[in-house]
Amino acid sequence: MSDPNVLLEAHAVAKHFGGVKALHDVSLTIRRGDIYGLIGPNGAGKTTFFNCLTGLYRNESGHFVFDGARLAADAPHKAAAVGIARTFQNIRLFGNMTAIENVMVGRHLRTRANVFGAIFRNRATRNEEAAILRRAEELLHYVGIHERAHDYAKHLSYGDQRRLEIARALATEPKLLALDEPAAGMNGTETEALRLLVEGISRDGVTVLLIEHDVKLVMGLCTRVAVLDYGEKICEDVPAMVQRDPRVIEAYLGGSVA
């Protein structure tokens, strides 16, 4: 029934807050290996879409099909378990834990040690703990902040906090990495470094869903782009086509320039 190249399909997903239609029957298709951009003006429903996808909100109607199975994500940890990891628009790290501990928390899902393992520290638990530490170190290397491993998350620079959040998300071994405005507040150099990081992640086989305001970044990085406006998808195509779409220009630039 489903195309094996498709990782995520959203079918007419709708979400209301009281009378406000935050999402109005949004459907989209993300293929494996895509760097899929989700753009739109403020309040267009991008983050709401993320929150529905990751189980933080429940959509009123519509559904998601992820990796060939219908997503029953009524809780965020279930979404993480099937392979959807996310970062947050306003960074949400465990501020009073060190960078490496933050990433180690990300390994929770893929490890098993229980209370008895913790108390008796049997061989299996010790091995697992060592593997968690090793993997966390690798991931900090991967995102390029390993020299800050033992600093508290809240003492990291803004850009490093973004990277740490990505490392923590990658620790859950996602198939889909959903980044909510990762470049927000970054300067040009940091944005460029982020672009390289996201490209690397994509090359290593993780599909990326990206919400972003930085149109230049999205157009340069993404393989496909969808545009939301007032909770509706108004366009979905390759970047070059999206840029030329008159509805997008109107929505994004307020119509005055078109």
Binding site: H77, A81, R92, F94, E101, V105, V115, A118, I119, T172
Partner: protein
């Protein structure tokens, strides 16, 4: 262990602590067996406070009804080892039963309430603590289960074969009284709970608790089933409460609902908060201080008043609450992270998260 006694000679610290721990019951006995009992209670409270520390300090769940689990453990022991029902099971059977039962109640209470946060959870647990106490008070009719407010008496002491903890005995040429025997049992239990606390802190589960305390939404997004993990903290804390209750019942030989008042819950919580939430040496310090302080008052204030005023006009019990309150206010004002906080907790309170 977080207690550092000079890095160059770690064994010196351990030996020192061991010598002090060995000496305490004999030194205390010089002032009478009552002082040994006070030392015993201090250690029992260390045990309780470290159990609560898992719930409050690690997972950040405010539990104001912890004494309910203590009561469940105590009554389990009392009912299964006393003439009340004529059942006399050995302690090594009852203590696990008490722990399991307390754990069961922890889950029963936790499952519906752990969606609540902060204040709301505190109110529900507070109510639960009172419900258990009132149950114990009134469960003497139509069937007499708990013997109501009179409590249950003649509870069997802990006994290994012929070695009873209630009687004075001789060991290696020393004469060891009942309370002194309990002292060593309690120290052994306390060491076990300390090791468990330390090991939990540094584990997958411990990190998950800490993550939930830091940011619950982010913890969920990391794939942590927050409800189950919180329930686990609750159940573990409750089991420790149950074990402590069992030992309490055996040591006292008597239980009544009066021992499990709200005040008791608050005292245990105060030990955790006063000492330093989530920090094991801090919690131990809190438990020892808050057990020793009222006793010191009781023994010190009376003669002091008689000496100065020639008569008693403030009874130590009411003075105790006053000093308690004052101590808490002062600690919150000058050391909001506790007397001996973990470096982490100090950070949290020094720089409020934005």
């Amino acid at each position: 262990m977080n207690l550092r006694f000079g890095k160059s000679m770690p064994w010196l610290g351990v030996v020192l602590v061991a010598v002090v721990l060995l000496a305490v019951p004999f030194v205390a006995a010089l002032g009478g067996q009552a002082w040994v009992r006070i030392a015993n209670f201090a250690i029992l409270y260390i045990f309780l406070a470290l159990g609560l520390n898992i719930v409050v300090g690690y997972a950040g769940l405010l539990d104001l009804g912890y004494v309910a689990f203590y009561a469940v453990g105590a009554y389990t022991y009392a009912l299964l080892a006393s003439p009340h029902f004529g059942i006399h099971l050995p302690f090594w059977m009852i203590l696990p039963i008490g722990a399991a039962l307390a754990c069961f109640f922890g889950v029963i209470l936790g499952a519906p309430t752990l969606k609540l946060r902060g204040d709301y959870l505190a109110i529900v647990t507070l109510g639960f603590g009172e419900i258990i106490r009132i149950f114990m008070n009134n469960l003497n009719a139509p069937i007499n289960v708990t013997n109501g407010a009179q409590g249950i008496t003649l509870i069997d002491p802990i006994r290994f074969g012929d070695f009873s903890f209630a009687q004075t005995g001789h060991l290696f040429g020393f004469t060891i009284s009942g309370p002194q025997k309990y002292y060593f049992l309690l120290v052994a239990l306390a060491i076990v709970v300390i090791v468990i606390n330390i090991r939990l802190q540094d584990s997958r589960v411990g990190r998950a608790w800490q993550a939930i305390r830091e940011d619950e939404v982010a913890a969920k997004a990391c794939g942590i089933n927050t409800r189950n993990v919180k329930l686990l903290a609750f159940a573990m804390g409750a089991s420790f409460g149950g074990i402590a209750g069992g030992v309490f019942a055996a040591m006292q030989g008597f239980v009544s609902p009066e021992s499990f008042s709200l005040m008791e819950s608050i005292t245990i919580l105060a030990m955790v908060v006063l000492g330093g939430m989530g920090h094991i040496p801090g919690v131990i310090l809190g438990a020892v201080l808050l057990t020793a302080l009222p006793e010191a008052l009781r023994y010190g204030i009376e003669p002091l008043q008689r000496m100065i005023f020639g008569r008693m006009f403030l009874d130590p019990e009411s003075l105790r609450m006053l000093v308690f309150g004052l101590a808490l206010v002062l600690v919150m004002r000058f050391r909001p992270a506790g007397l001996w906080p973990s470096s982490q907790r100090r950070r949290e309170l020094a720089e409020p998260a934005d």
